[in-house]
Amino acid sequence: MKTTLSWLKSHLDTEAPLAELVERLVMLGHDVDSVADRGAALAPFITARVVSAEPHPNADRLRVCVVDTGSGEVQVVCGAPNARAGMIGVFGPAGVTIPKTGAVLNESTIRGVVSRGMLMSGYELALSDDHDGIIELPPDTPVGVRYARIAGLDDPVIDIKVTPNRADCLGVRGLARDLAASGLGALKPLDTSPVGGRFRSPIALHIEEPAACPLFLGRHIRGLRNGPSPDWLKNRLESIGLRPISALVDITNFLTYDLNRPLHVFDAAKLKGGLTVRFARAGERLAALNGRDYTLDPEITAIADGNGVQSLGGVIGGEPTGCTEATTEVFVEAALFDPVRTAATGRRLEIASDARYRFERGVDPDFVGPGLEIATWLILELCGGEPSEIVAAGAAPEWRRHYVLRAGRIASLGGADVPLDEAGTVLDALGFAVERRGGDVAVTPPSWRGDIVGEADLVEEVLRVKGYDAIPAVPLGRDTVVSRPAIDARRRRLELVRRSLAARGLVEAVAFSFVSAKAAEAFGGGDARLRLVNPISADLAVMRPSLLPTLVEAAQRNADRGVADIALFELGPLYRDDTPEGQATAAAGLRAGHTGPRDWRARPGAVDLFLAKEDALAALAAAGAPVEGVQTAADPPAWYHPGRAGSLRLGPAVLGHFGELHPDLLDAFGVNGPVAAFEVFLDAVPAPRSGRARPPLQLSVFQPVERDFAFIVDRAVPAENLLRAARGVERRLVTEIRLFDVYEGAGLPDGKKSLAIAVTLQPQDATLTDAEIEAFSQRLVAAVEKATGGVLRG
């Protein structure tokens, strides 16, 4: 919502400077986006009369002009073809900054003749594209005054973000009323006296749909002459970015912005019979004033005459009955359109008009008649003509509502101690009807404040006008001196997972929750219920079924930017269905290239599935999973390499997957492999047993013994089988079994591999004898052999 300072002052009698008015608007809740002082750059430019214009002695195309600036005569050299004696133009003295170029105008000698300033073109003043000649002002323009004032450009434009609840402030008068209530001046009276009709309107009104349009007033005016608006009106509209069209149209636009009273003016000669407000019939059409044709349907509020729909109620008028320069009689419509219906019409047809914007937010139901009178006065003043009596259909809906503002409520809700009398004064200044009732105040909001629906609103009104600065800040106390946990055990675990993965060298990414349908399908998703109806783009159209597609895309982008070694992870949501339970929290990571840059000490390893397994288990451990009980199975989902990936399970629960991504998938995403990735599902991790005390630690005084065993097994035997068998032997004695070597090749039979484990035995009661160790070894070898068919390597 834009207005200008002088426009605001047409409603507000105030001496306050611009800065104070702007500051107050902000503190009243009307945030000011910008204040554009178009006149500032033009300040040094003044009107001046060209006293003489003689040819330059040394240049054919130049003239030497003597200019009367009102405070003396100055000589300038001018190249404009229209410079001539007697004309009044715009003079810039030496030293000014030229608005268009930003250059300083210096006194100079042009081909031997001194020039002490410049006669300006509209182009140089950044006002137009016209640089063929200098600005010519009317002959009666006073000399020596600021050009910005003459041109009406010294009126700062204030751009205000009016909040959706304050429809009344979509009119300049509403802003003026707020300012006046806050003590910055007085609201000027508004003349709404009736015009007095001279005849009965030949156009009758009928409302078929009172829910869509409860009240419709109108007036016929004949014998008028439409033409350009006077400068003051054109200037106002132009200053807020509206294009002046003709007096009749400009008046309706002006009142829309001045008083939040949208109107429509039909060319009455083009109407057939009376006007009816009804829903459009399917297939009816209207050529609207915005130059577009619309096909209508019964959701749309229409105003129709004998020929059909001529206007869309509260949204836009029709071209065929619009006013032109030739219009001599009009029918002025002032109506009340239902906010919901108006919004529906506008949204259906995608029309954003000033009228729709206002009706949607609610215009003053008690100002339809006064608005029509003011419009009539303006039409009579600017276009002449003879007005009819007002013709009416429907009635204004009841808008009076009554609330009580309790004595202590401003303090108990608003935290500020405003005496009730003062509160009453504020509300009165805002137009509320206020009445003391015992210790409380009974309040009726004014017709233009449909947003006031309860006591809390009244508290806000009082505080808003008093200023929120008047509310003392009070510390928010708490029950305990020492802070209590702000996060629960689950979130604490997630934090630990996040920071553990980062500590492992993975860099945290945060990616969008949506991916392309192709990406979703590649990772087992793409459920129709998770496809956005209105995505930003096809790339961001489906809720992701996994964190991996966004990581793979990130890997591709990083590789394209020349980052070869990639180590990324994300901890965030994936979506299995559209229920709250379908949203799961996962941690996923992706590594590509090498584990580090080339180094003179050690050759960095290429990333592989085992690094991903390490990452996955680290994440699960941080999440509190009993990782020693996690089983690895070679059954990865389809997006992994079929032979170099696996899943991690705890009993029947799948905790995650890891491995190298499938080359087909990498090709589809344009990523060079191999890429090792993992994803763990943190909600699937069982909550660790509570209790902070650790189990008792028994440290043996006896030396532990470490023994190595190498077994030759079939290549297909999973190491986990061998380990599981080994772990089953003498659980009380064995503290650790570590697999430290895997070998295939020379020295071994075809199809066999050697797996070597180191077993640590920790006796508790006495040092182990050789015989005891030997007995253990035999049991272990037997157990492994039974479980895997493996034999001890000689």
């Binding site: 909040t163 809700l413 809390a456 505080l463 920071r499 945290e508 929750s513 990581l551 980052v563």
Partner: protein
């Protein structure tokens, strides 16, 4: 009696007169032995000297053997002296051995010269995303004020996202939300991607009785994509409900937060009226800044920067949650996490948060062990 002491470099004197031994040439033997020990240039040479004098066939050992031929008195006396000679030689061998070992180690160390200027591999630790870090910072501060984290689903019911928050279907505020929609369900209901974290207010109030003090960090979604809007971003929501909390507490709480978050003790904080359908009265919160020279500086100057929205929870919202607004009241607030992160850490472009550019993440990210805490204060 003279005592052997100190290093071998010191004048070495025998502890007795060799003539007293009453044997052939013992003095010569001693002097020669000590000379040879001192002259031994390597551990091997020293060992040869030791064997020569003190070995089983050694010269001193030979003399010891000869003691048996002496009369008892002379034997006792000579034995004692001969033992002293043997001890002196053994001490000399040990001392020389240690000296040779020191010299050998010194010679070895002199040859072991690493180029200590060689670079070591740089830090291989990862980074925490600025959004995660900022959320942790915000939780840490509000945690000190008694708030606890609550969370809710991203795919929301229209009711929780809008209607319960006093935004009925035709409310103009809905249009400003640029909502993402999911397909209509069989029962005609419509799911949306939550446009703010405020639905968690509703979910919490419907699930738990007052008093409540929660903050809700999380993902939010709006159908808008340009330089300053992202289709997904993060908000943190706050809610306090009890019997007495009023706007003065709202101000106190949020001033405290702003000053703690930006680490500026006298940061100017301004509250001005605004409008949200779910709060009444409502307030925008601005912090003081300067924009002179095109550079934004927080905490200095006469300009203001909007950073969060807030207000007293609307009575209708309380009613929608089954809470009696005549009995309970409180405030709510919401703020954009990326926005405050950008301001605090000087991150210029919103879109870069989600690009997963490793160069960006390493530059703007945080060390994993840098866990925010108001008690510990900032790392820098």
């Amino acid at each position: 009696m003279r005592v052997v002491e100190g290093p071998l470099q010191a004048p070495f004197v025998l502890p007795f007169e060799v003539q007293d031994l009453g044997m052939d040439d013992p003095q010569q033997l001693s002097a020669a032995g000590l000379g040879e020990v001192m002259a031994a240039a390597s551990p091997e040479a020293l060992e040869q000297v030791r064997i020569k004098y003190l070995g089983r066939q050694g010269l001193v050992t030979g003399l010891m053997r000869g003691l048996g031929a002496l009369p008892a008195d002379a034997r006792r006396d000579a034995g004692a002296r001969l033992n002293a000679l043997k001890d002196a030689l053994a001490d000399a061998v040990a001392a020389r051995g240690a000296e040779l070992a020191r010299a050998a180690r010194a010679a070895r160390l002199a040859g072991e010269r690493a180029d200590v200027t060689l670079p070591v591999s740089s830090d291989r630790v990862g980074r925490i995303h600025p959004i995660s870090q900022t959320i942790d910072e915000i939780i840490a501060i509000f945690g000190e004020m008694g708030f606890a984290v609550a969370e809710g689903p991203h795919i929301e019911d229209d009711f929780y996202n809008f209607t319960a928050l006093n935004i009925p279907p035709e409310h103009p505020a809905r249009q400003e939300h640029d909502t993402f929609y999911l397909p209509e369900r069989a029962d005609g209901s419509r799911l949306v991607l939550r446009t703010h974290t405020s639905p968690v207010q509703i979910r919490t109030m419907r699930a738990q009785p007052p008093p409540l003090r929660i903050i809700v960090p999380g993902r939010t979604f709006r159908c808008d994509h340009d330089a300053t809007h992202s289709p997904m971003f993060h908000q943190v929501e706050g809610l306090v409900i009890d019997r007495t909390t009023h706007m003065g507490h709202l101000k106190g709480c949020l001033i405290e937060f702003c000053r703690a978050f930006f680490g500026i003790e006298d940061l100017p904080v301004r509250f001005r009226p605004s409008y949200f359908p779910f709060t009444e009265p409502s307030a925008e919160v601005d912090i003081g800044c300067s924009r002179s020279g095109g550079e934004l500086r927080i905490g200095a100057g006469a300009d203001w920067l909007e950073i969060l929205g807030s207000g007293m929870v609307h009575p209708q919202v309380l009613r929608n949650c089954g809470i009696d607004p005549d009995e309970y009241q409180g405030f709510a607030f919401g703020m954009g996490i990326e926005r405050v992160a950008m301001l605090k850490y000087g991150i210029p472009d919103l879109r870069t948060f989600y690009e997963s550019d490793l160069r960006w993440l390493r530059h703007y990210g945080f060390l994993p062990l840098d866990i925010p805490s108001p008690v510990r204060g900032p790392l820098r």
